[in-house]
Symmetry: C2
Subunit: 717 residues, 2 copies
């Protein structure tokens, strides 16, 4: 059995278990976790030591003396209808009072705004005033209109601490979070870290969890609607008056509350980003890098390495904005529920990448479901997550893996211990295969086209279960285990002409959102570039409401290439093309299913309908131009083994008119990866599977148990 | 048995049958139909005689000599992608060549337009030319953009004739249609009518079928998509260069092709009308009245009456535009599939109103289904249509009824003969009840709010089966048999304040359409007026996507009153209110079903959820303000007995907190109408039903066979 490349969470008081499992699982590193400590016995056992620090938490004493140091956010009240010429709006109505307090300092109030939401216009400052005693805004109204007030609020409970308290009934002191944008906070933080490094001589690696600003997570006062707004890649929690003032000086214009709260909808990642949002992200990226680098330098100065956990308070640290290397991190750790998160981790420019497996060693997991507690099946959970990660690991190299949490909880769960035996064995086999050379990729190079482009490489905005209503995450999850090179393209990247090496472009999203592209599709240059490219042989695949843009002759701006359009009611008086479905043998695997939508219509009757439901097409294929260009439309897409195979088949068929290609298994439940000397068969199913795969003139076959993986040495067969 | 008030279609060659059925069914009038004639024996049998004329048809000889006299329309080609700097667009590609010919006269070509549909801009005239030999437009393009050409086309086959030919495999000469806008055509037509009147001395009533311009019906060349565009209330078929020129003089601005073709979507009635469309309708109304009145005067001068059939070539003759009486018609005949069409007919300001029953005496009916031919069940069909008409007849008086078509076809269908016995008996009973006084209406007065207002009283755009994808037609059909007064309101009618006598306003439609209101909801005055009205006790009921308008804080602009909004993706990161459904006993009848939509969210958690599906509300009720105002939301509405009762219950409950009211039956399958001395029970079900109804301190009950009707004399009980 191979060893190493594995980080085990240790736990003081459970030294025997820690060292036993470290040996059994071949750990080379032991870490602490939020809530656990390592004892002298563990620290002295000859392993490298990772120590977890959350730089902005655990400073309550200092923050109490310096309440300015707390972090902030803009909040927008729910709209209220004016029943008379005077309306009183209670600012904190509906917000979780343990999370927020009004910041009514003069510096903050400069940024407050009252909006008439009936006309969507700003209310003049002389038509409202703040009553500090009552915490209310009093507005001189136009009766029967609706109003909101937007204000700056202190965040007085660090959100991850808040979540753990409420989910796990913790009863500890509420932790606050430090705002390192303020020079005195930064100085305090640097001194604190210097002291910390001196006090922890055994630590080899300081594991930042994570940096300074949490993803946006606004809680409500009513248990029936606790999570008012949650977005993993929103920058709402970075604001403070000092930063806003500095932004105005640097960028030449001032941001206001409305630029953040946007009618109460906030700046969610799935909305097409405004230039203001991009500027603010750029600004935040700058100061987060500056402060972060200062801390990393301290860690390096103490002779330790600095790794960062890419979650929670990650905001401002973008792995794909071209500046990540400036931090100087020695490693990045990504917790992984899904295949695409493996790929996200794998492409970050950093010397060492580690994935942290699920489940976390905690009594409960996602949404409060039992894991290491009665009713939990942690071994099964671990294998389920592993299967999704494994297929991505077969495509891209990750150096290390690990676990986190309370190791003692694994006692009594032998299925989990055994599952980890398997997982670690397969992880190390795969890592070793990558050392023999990169796995084979097939020719079609896929571009994912959306408003964020490269910045949101292999992710949308958080974990799969947080974004699963967006079709694109299902596409990314499918692609994460396919033998294709994938690029992430913004509209700017293709407006002047599609990059030469791209063979297939996928645009998958809902009308108006960042994934489909929204307002970008008003641009004729974009449409001309894509149309020209398809007519010269490109493949444009649209899923859901691709290229949707209202007000033009077609709702889908690429309808002329797709051969289908979406009729959102305007064509209720137009006839619809009748069609016969034309199944292409082997293209749509048994069990593949594309959810229908009733509004899909053929544009000119020319597109081949590969599948349909109650008279509306669900999968179409349209020849565009005379040079082999193709438009493909799917009315929807949900991740699954058969749909993954369908997507791969469509990509292969449209680029080569052939789905039986080297290195592809003949069984949708089994995927193959071809390394220089080895072909790997991975069974993604919970049942035994058999599969064949042809490479050149040789055919390989494997018979696998449920979830099994088999490596065949191609030189020996 | 009562007699009279019934128009029987006679048929030469079937004199015995004609006179027997005339006697059996108590006819007072015999008519001819399209395709039948009346013989001397019938004409002399002592009945009044209606003669059907279609004024614009049957003039092929004269039109052949005067091809300018043919009617026209604008057509817009399907968009074509330019693969090079030169694009050739074949104008007639895709259009039905038996219906259209290019009008490339200089007068017509002035109105032609070429559009760049990628940018949605007009292409300069010097960048395209017409090749008359090829019937093509040659465009100097920006490559990879899409282009359309819009042109005037002669319509060379009258559409009703075309439909009958193709549906019934007729093999007669294709009839053309005269354009009476041209002075020489008008003069010809008047002379023809004078001659006709002189030649038909036995005719008492000239029955116009109908006037001059057909509803829009653009056919395609491909049998897989024959009906490119069909809209019963579109004015596309009224155009000719002469009229367009005169319009420009009269209204001070010129219309162009794009004002009619509108990106190829045309001016369907369900689109929010532009001012240009309203002006053109006004202009057409003027000349149609002028020409029509000239013909009616001729009929009157010949000592005959003039009735008009309100269908087919009705365009320009609006019964609800305030000018209908200027025609001077003596009667209006409406063919009736549904209850709302009875109400539509009943409120037209004309001395005599007649409904024509379905099925038409024809081998096939709707969509080619068998009626009086093997497989048909005309008796059952007649009763099914009758049940829908009867409930509306119980609310509004109609003087006469009739049939149309080939009487001889009834031979061999005794079930139809018997069904007509019943139908005529009940029709006459109901008519007699109306002579005793108006039926009782309950207090809530209902306003239907949409972009057309009164002009589209009791209709959308044609028959139920033509508009059944619009929720509002289901609402109208349900309302047509309820004991409420109903008004049709435009946004102008409520902008300055809701009319005082309105208790309930219903807004039912899809985002952006004329029924929901589209751009009208951008108007703050409208929202203030409605909000004020609800807060003072009004009931606003929204169905589907009521008050939808994009770009504001809520998608439904009345969300603050409804307590629900539609999240079309913008709030994917927002939490949704959890709720418990709170069924109110007796409000939602067993069997009622409102189709869910996944995007409905509670705004502030205050609305009562009466019904829900998979966590999204389908029926909600929200108290708005302190004076009893209510917002009601239904995610959808489909006509049916139980849903009709649901709608009535909601109206009654929201206005009086009580659904058990005088004059309401206790059985959703049975409806009651209360005349001054009589309570009528009508069983709408195909099964025997029993019902009770309380009026004042008396309770009445009835036991009825399937579809039965029972009249109880209240004075005697």
């Amino acid at each position: 059995m191979m060893k190493g490349n594995f980080t085990l969470p240790g736990e003081a008081g459970h030294e025997k278990l820690t060292l036993e499992l470290a040996k059994r699982w071949g750990a080379d590193v032991i870490r602490d976790s939020d809530g656990t400590k390592l004892s002298e016995e563990i620290l002295r056992a000859g392993y490298d030591i990772y120590s977890t620090i959350c730089p902005i938490r655990e400073h309550n004493d200092w923050i109490r003396q310096n309440p300015r140091a707390r972090q902030q956010t803009f909040l927008c009240t729910a709209p209220r209808t004016a029943g008379s010429p005077r309306l009183i709006v209670r600012l904190m109505d509906g917000f979780f009072k343990e999370q927020f307090e009004i910041n009514d300092s003069a510096a903050a109030m400069k940024y407050w705004q009252v909006y008439d939401r009936t006309t969507d216009t700003l209310v003049d400052r002389d038509r409202w005033h703040y009553d500090a005693d009552e915490g209310t805004i009093v507005i001189h109204t136009v009766p029967w209109r609706q109003y909101t007030a937007s204000f700056l609020a202190w965040r007085v409970w660090e959100e991850i601490s808040m979540y753990n308290h409420t989910t796990n009934n913790w009863d500890k002191e509420h932790l606050m979070q430090l705002n390192p944008y303020l020079p005195d906070c930064r100085e305090y933080l640097e001194n604190w870290l210097k002291d910390w490094c001196a006090a922890n001589p055994d630590t080899n690696v300081v594991r930042f969890t994570s940096l300074f600003y949490n993803f946006a997570w606004i809680w409500g006062s009513n248990a029936r609607n606790r999570h008012l707004f949650t977005d993993w890649a929103s920058y709402d929690f970075t604001v403070c008056p000092e930063a806003l003032d500095d932004f105005a000086k640097k960028y030449g214009y001032a941001l206001c509350a409305e630029d953040f709260v946007r009618q109460g909808k906030y700046n969610a990642t799935h909305r097409v980003p405004t230039q203001k949002k991009r500027d603010w992200m750029d600004f935040c990226g700058g100061f987060v890098r500056d402060i972060g680098k200062g801390l990393i330098d301290i860690v390096h100065g103490a002779g330790k390495k600095a790794y960062v956990f890419y979650d929670d308070s990650w905001v401002g640290m973008e792995p794909y904005n071209g500046h990540f290397e400036e931090f100087g991190f020695d490693g990045l750790i990504k917790c992984v529920f899904s295949g695409y998160e493996v790929r996200l981790c794998a492409d970050v420019p950093v010397p060492m990448r580690e994935i942290r497996f699920h489940p976390y060693l905690f009594p409960v997991g996602l949404g409060g479901a039992a894991t290491f507690s009665p009713g939990g099946q942690p071994g099964q959970d671990a294998l389920d997550y592993w299967i999704t990660a494994r297929r991505a690991l077969l495509r891209a190299k990750i150096e290390r893996c690990g676990l986190g949490g309370y190791l003692s909880l694994t006692q009594g769960y032998p299925d989990f211990i055994q599952a980890m035996d398997t997982i670690l064995d397969e992880f190390r086999q795969i890592a070793a295969l990558h050392d023999t050379g990169a796995p084979m990729t097939l020719k079609p190079r896929v571009g994912i086209l959306h408003a964020w482009g490269k910045l949101r490489t292999w992710t949308l905005s958080g974990h799969f279960h947080e974004t699963d209503r967006h079709t694109l995450i299902h596409v990314l999850e499918s692609l994460s285990g396919m033998p294709f090179d994938v690029e992430f393209l913004s509209f700017d990247d293709v407006r002047g002409g599609v990059p030469k090496n791209i063979n297939v472009i996928i645009n998958a999203g809902a009308a108006g959102d960042a994934w489909s592209g929204g307002e970008h599709w008003g641009d004729a240059d974009l449409i001309e570039a894509l149309t020209c490219w398809v007519h010269n042989g490109g493949v444009f695949m649209g899923i859901g409401e691709p290229s949707a843009y209202p007000g033009r002759h077609s709702f889908l701006r690429m309808a002329h290439v797709l051969g289908v359009d979406i009729d959102n009611g305007e064509r209720a008086c137009h006839g619809r093309w009748q069609f016969e479905t034309e199944p292409i043998p082997s293209l749509v695997p048994d069990g593949a299913h594309i959810a229908p939508r009733a509004d899909v219509v053929l544009t000119d009757g020319e597109a081949m309908v590969l599948a349909a439901h109650e008279g509306t097409p669900t999968i179409t294929l349209n020849m565009a131009g005379r040079r082999g260009g193709v438009g493909i439309y799917l009315s929807n897409f949900a991740y699954g083994a058969e749909n993954t195979r369908l997507l791969m088949n469509l990509i292969l068929y449209a680029t080569s008119w052939n789905t039986i290609t080297d290195g592809i298994s003949d069984n949708p439940n089994v995927e193959c990866a071809v390394f220089p000397h080895t072909v790997v068969f991975a069974n993604n199913a919970a049942t035994p599977q058999r599969a064949e795969c042809t490479i050149g003139d040789k055919t390989y076959s494997a018979q696998m148990p449920p979830f099994g993986m088999q490596c065949l040495n191609m030189n020996r067969i």
